[in-house]
């Protein structure tokens, strides 16, 4: 079994290094093919491990080698394959494999094709380290690793120049990449602090040891540790107020958005909360804060998605919103539901993004859905895929999203957090609306693009086939809810609805469904037969607020980035140069000038020197008289 673990873990690394060797050579399709095959190997290894864990219920621990040791501190590269990590491993490798194959087609014309695969596989490796590690520091390696890979991939088209925010809200890929990295770093500091707290109160960073010791720790320690770790999770999972990087990250190539910014990396925060569930379970205040924040972000992001015109950004906002759902579930103690939604979301969101990639490919990188329309004629399969994914996202029965999201909303009701429940229900309606607004504006109606120059066509066949597993899972994943629950609750606390909720479950489902279908119907009415711009609405305050993302990016720019630059300038030019250095120089000049003054003593006349000498002698003698 250990071999399987290492195969699953290192196949992506090998793939990355292999592609890296060719990074500076001209595009070669075989690089992509071999990378995809290695990823597939990793997926099979993960699947086999999953089967093993499923059939034997055993948890596999393995230690590769020691890493850092100093004083009492001791950390190894240790990996654990249990119900949680194996679920994540399977999801990650599956989505990654599909994205790799997809990228062969999508990046077909890019001259940095090989480099792309190197980065992409490196990302998968980091993600695998993240989910498989058996200690917090190992998780942190993956945590930072995915950060760097995401930096590389968002900034993949680094050669694009910076433009103003009005032209492109993310300014440039490299700007967005830096923003993502730095914002993640802010959160990582929180995570580090959490690790420090745990280390000094437990003495180890291994999950088993830490969780076993938790009952002996004081409440303050638990609360601060949980809070610090959650700050880390907020960064990776782009929760408010560290959420702006996620939409800007859409500057990266679309497969990247599918893999990193939808299916895997951003769920790392949720994974952390699920992984550390014993800790969060013992800190109800923090957990409730998580649930509250999650609900707020779900609503907040959905509201911004309502009015956005950018194909990828809409999906990015929906990702944010769904992450909010996951946090809500995890915060309310329904960890397995959060994990279930995480997996289901990974499938349909990746599918959605890849579909968007197809559209972009067909539309020559046009992203504005107001300039599309009528594509269903030319892009049948993409239409179907995106339709399926949107239905899953909207939570329509039989599709995966229904089972997972509905469970979350029920949980909120069950926990008697009615405000959260209400917000989540409304958000479900908004989700349905914006998903279908996007689908209809893209595929339905009449073309709004220049039909003379653009002749859209669907993606390569193999790409479409590669996407099919995701589509199938988006449809059918929900049916395995019971099995999934049975599987993961071996490790995670099980969660049962109370009697009261159980009675109302039919009613609750109908309410949620009502909102969802209402949202779809509204979108259908408004957009199915083409776009009718509503000037009055578009000029309203709320619309402007939403389009500008509540002016939060502006706020950051004006109140953090600019003052920071200004203070830095001032510190350098005013403080460092004019105060600190000037004082040093002033001391030097004092000696220099005093030398210049005393130089006048040097008349060249021996007699004068003798006078000085005698004066000195006299002074010394007098001193001797006076003090001796």
């Amino acid at each position: 079994m250990e071999n399987l673990i290492y195969i699953a873990l290192f196949a992506p690394l090998v793939s990355s290094l292999f592609a890296g060797v060719f990074a500076m050579s001209p595009r070669a399709t075989f690089v992509g093919v071999i990378s995809s095959i290695l990823l597939l190997v990793s997926f099979f290894a993960s699947a086999q491990l999953a089967y093993f864990v499923y059939s034997t219920n055993a948890v596999i621990h393995t230690t590769m080698m020691p890493w850092i040791m100093a004083g009492d501190f001791f950390v190894e590269f240790g990996f654990v394959v249990d119900h949680i990590s194996v679920t994540m491993m399977t999801v990650v490798t599956l989505v990654s494999t599909v994205v790799h194959i997809y990228s062969i087609g999508y990046m077909d014309h890019d001259k940095s094709f090989n480099r792309f695969f190197s980065y992409l596989s490196a990302f998968v490796f980091s993600m695998m380290v993240l989910v498989m590690s058996d200690n917090f520091l190992g998780l942190f390696i993956g945590w930072e690793g995915v950060g760097v890979c995401s930096w590389l991939l968002i900034g993949f088209w680094y050669h694009k120049p910076d433009v103003s925010r009005d032209e492109n809200p993310s300014i440039s890929p490299s700007w967005a990449a830096n923003e993502a990295f730095i914002m993640n770093r802010v959160a990582d500091l929180g995570m580090l602090i959490g690790i420090f707290i745990l280390y000094w109160s437990v003495g180890s960073l291994k999950y088993d040891v830490v969780f076993a010791t938790l009952p002996h720790l004081s409440e303050t320690v638990l609360t601060t540790a949980a809070l610090a770790l959650f700050i880390g999770a907020m960064g990776k999972s782009a929760q408010f107020p560290l959420h702006t990087w996620l939409t800007d990250a859409m500057e990266g190539p679309t497969p990247v958005s599918a893999l990193i910014h939808a299916a895997t990396m951003v769920t790392a925060g949720v994974f952390l909360v699920i992984r550390a569930n014993p800790l969060f379970a013992m800190t109800p205040e923090v957990s409730f804060f998580i649930a509250g924040l999650g609900t707020f972000v779900a609503f907040f992001a959905a509201s911004m998605a309502l009015v956005n015109r950018d194909l990828k950004r809409i999906i990015a906002f929906s990702t944010l919103s769904q992450l909010g759902y996951m946090f809500a579930a995890a915060g309310l103690g329904a960890y397995w539901i959060a994990l279930f939604h995480l997996a289901a979301h990974a499938f349909f969101k990746a599918l959605l993004f890849l579909g968007a990639g197809n559209v972009m490919h067909a539309m020559h990188d046009e992203l504005d859905i107001f300039k599309m329309g009528g594509l269903k004629k030319y892009m049948r399969w993409t239409y179907i895929y995106m339709g399926v994914a949107s239905l899953a996202l909207a939570g329509i029965p039989v599709f995966a999203g229904f089972f997972s999201k509905d469970a979350i909303i029920e949980t909120a009701f069950n926990e008697e957090a009615y405000v959260l429940w209400g917000m989540l229900v409304v958000t479900a309606g908004m989700t349905a609306f914006y998903s279908f607004r996007q689908v209809f504006l893209t595929f339905a109606g009449v073309p709004r693009y220049d039909t003379h120059h653009l002749h859209p066509h669907d993606m390569y066949r193999y790409v479409l086939i590669a996407m099919s597993p995701l589509a199938l899972l988006a449809v059918f994943a929900g049916f395995f809810k019971e099995e999934f629950e049975a599987f993961v609750t071996h490790l995670l606390p099980s969660y049962h609805m109370s009697e009261h909720t159980h009675h109302l479950v039919g009613l609750l489902t109908v309410i949620v469904l009502g909102f969802a279908i209402g949202g779809i119907y509204l979108a259908y009415k408004k957009y199915y037969n083409g776009l009718k711009r509503d000037e009055k609405c578009e000029n309203s305050f709320i619309y402007k607020l939403l389009v500008n993302q509540y002016y939060i990016p502006h706020f950051y720019e004006e109140f953090i980035a600019k003052p920071y630059t200004m203070i830095s300038q001032k510190l350098w030019q005013e403080v460092d140069m004019k105060i600190v250095d000037a004082i040093v120089d002033a001391i030097a000049y004092f000696f220099y000038n005093s030398g210049d003054v005393t130089r006048r003593m040097q008349t060249g006349n021996l007699s004068h020197y003798l006078n000085w000498m005698a004066a000195g002698t006299a002074v010394l003698l007098l001193a001797a008289v006076l003090f001796a």
């Binding site: 500076m24 040791m69 501190f73 802010v186």
Partner: protein
């Protein structure tokens, strides 16, 4: 081999003397040969070093002035071993990558003498010998900056010399006082550090002595507000000068704290934790911000050095094995990473004769290999796990968290601020379109440059993934140091704060 340390110290110097009779054109090969030999010598030293023994090894003791207790007294432990290795390694890499044409012979001779003084500082156990090497190290560096530097080189080199020299003098007074106190106590003169360790000073005396040593070391580190010589020295020095300065010379200061201040004045060190932590914080945050404001790539790296030295200072005063071990490791990591960054800047300077960021942009597409290596070093500099930079920085922060969570949180901002200035540097020079025509034709790294950088890249990743061979000897020696401090401390508070690791090393 009993005299290996003497050999290690004086081999470069003798080779430097012989260098005067070598022809100019074969000087480069000669320099490389000598430094490579020296490096292998130090590798051999590592090979025969007993990692399990925490004490001083390879001790050499020859009386010079017996009546005054001045001895030629060398020795090395886990703390100094790797700094010595790093010095020989960086000198070797520096000489291999040397791109100076003018007066190459003199340059190499200066470097060889510098190497002698650097190793001498790290292996001497006699205060007078230590001081001798300490001061001598200024001279070759003074020449290197003053003779091969930029337009402001005279100002920079004199500032460097006088500033650090002033500090050293104050330190000398402290040393003499300690020797005098030792004489008072025992009736014999001795400048041997091991003898000095046995003196227990009153807390008042410790405070004064600590202050005297502090001035000498802090200027060298350089700690805020004594840091302003550094940007000038770096800005004006030739590439090789900056590499050695950042990699090794700055470490003398922090090494001094570990070697002198901690074991000799444990109580004062504990009392001084707070002021030093605050100064370190200012170093970390303030210089990181100043670095962000710079327009010159080299100045960014120079200020970033100060910022990283702040982390190292923080670790030294963590008073536990995690912090101090991390600190020593970070010294090595910073040496290699900042050395590499300065070399990279030097390479681009050789091509374009400018170091201004606005003169670049889009270099990643013109010079992909350069960008790749720069990227690796940058990531190590901002402390990415699995690179060298992370191990040290993490250990320092985790160590200091035990002392003060608040200061650690503030100090931890270095991982954010470091990313801010480094990434903005990378974005400005490597990303975006190529806007300046001259940059379009820049050549990527040539074989020589790649071969001098590759070992650094390998080291940065190897020691990031598997730091054990380095960490363990350091940790053993640090453990012994802490135990010693704990036993020696006068104040109860000091004993309470010094955290000696409890566990026996199961990791072995």
């Amino acid at each position: 081999m009993d005299n290996i340390l003497t050999l290690l110290v004086f081999f470069p110097a003798i080779a430097g003397l012989l260098g005067f009779v070598i022809e100019e054109k074969s000087m480069r090969v000669y320099g490389i040969t000598v430094t490579v030999l020296e490096f292998f010598l130090s590798l051999w030293l590592w090979g025969i070093y007993d990692g399990a023994n925490a004490g001083l090894q390879f001790v050499e003791f020859v009386p010079i002035i017996p009546s005054m207790g001045v001895n030629y007294y060398l020795g090395l432990d886990g703390i100094s071993l790797f700094i010595v290795l790093m010095s020989t390694f960086m000198t070797m890499i520096g000489v291999i990558s040397l791109s100076i044409k003018k007066n190459l012979k003199n340059m190499i001779i200066s470097l060889l003498f510098l190497e002698m003084t650097m190793i001498g500082v790290f292996v001497s156990l006699d205060a007078i010998i230590f001081y001798l090497f300490w001061e001598l190290s200024l001279v070759p560096m003074f020449y290197i900056i003053g003779a091969w530097g930029g337009p402001l080189r005279i100002y920079a080199s004199i500032k460097f010399f006088l500033y650090t020299f002033t500090g050293s003098l104050v330190m000398l007074v402290g040393m003499l006082y300690v020797a005098y106190a030792y004489h008072d106590l025992t009736g014999v003169w001795s400048f041997a550090l091991t003898d000095w360790y046995s003196v227990v000073f009153s807390v008042d005396a410790q405070m004064w002595l600590f202050a005297a040593f502090f001035v000498g070391f802090a200027i060298k580190v350089p700690m805020f507000p004594f840091h302003t010589w550094l940007p000038y020295a770096h800005g004006q020095a030739p590439t090789i000068g900056s590499v050695i300065l950042a990699a090794v010379l700055l470490k003398m200061g922090t090494y001094g704290f570990v070697r002198f201040s901690l074991p000799m004045f444990p109580d004062a060190a504990v009392i001084w934790i707070e002021p030093i932590a605050v100064l370190s914080l200012i170093m970390i945050i303030y210089t990181a911000m100043v670095a962000y404001a710079q327009k010159d790539i080299k100045q960014v790296i120079a200020y970033s050095s100060v910022s990283h030295m702040g982390i190292i200072m923080l670790g030294i005063f963590a008073m536990n094995a995690e912090g101090i071990t991390g600190s020593v490791f970070q010294m090595i990591a910073h040496g290699i990473v900042s050395g590499a960054l300065f070399m990279l800047v030097g390479m681009i300077y050789d091509r374009r004769h400018t170091k201004m960021m606005d003169q670049f942009g889009g270099l990643a597409s013109v010079m992909p290999k350069f960008a790749l290596i720069f990227g690796v070093m940058l990531m190590s500099s901002v402390g990415l796990p699995l690179t060298m930079g992370f191990v040290g920085e993490f250990l320092v922060l985790i160590g200091f968290y035990h002392v003060s969570p608040m200061i650690t949180i503030l100090g931890g901002t270095s991982i954010i601020l470091g990313a801010v200035y480094m990434l903005s540097l990378f974005k400005k020079s490597f990303f975006g379109p190529v806007t300046i025509e001259e940059n379009r034709t820049l050549k990527d790294l040539n074989a020589n440059e790649i071969w001098s950088l590759l070992p650094l890249v390998v080291l940065v990743i190897w020691l990031g993934v598997y730091p054990k061979p380095v960490l363990q000897p350091i940790d053993n020696s640090v453990h012994a140091l802490l135990k010693f401090m704990d036993e020696k401390a006068v104040n109860e508070e000091t004993k309470a704060l010094i955290h000696v690791a409890t566990k026996t090393k199961e990791a072995k």
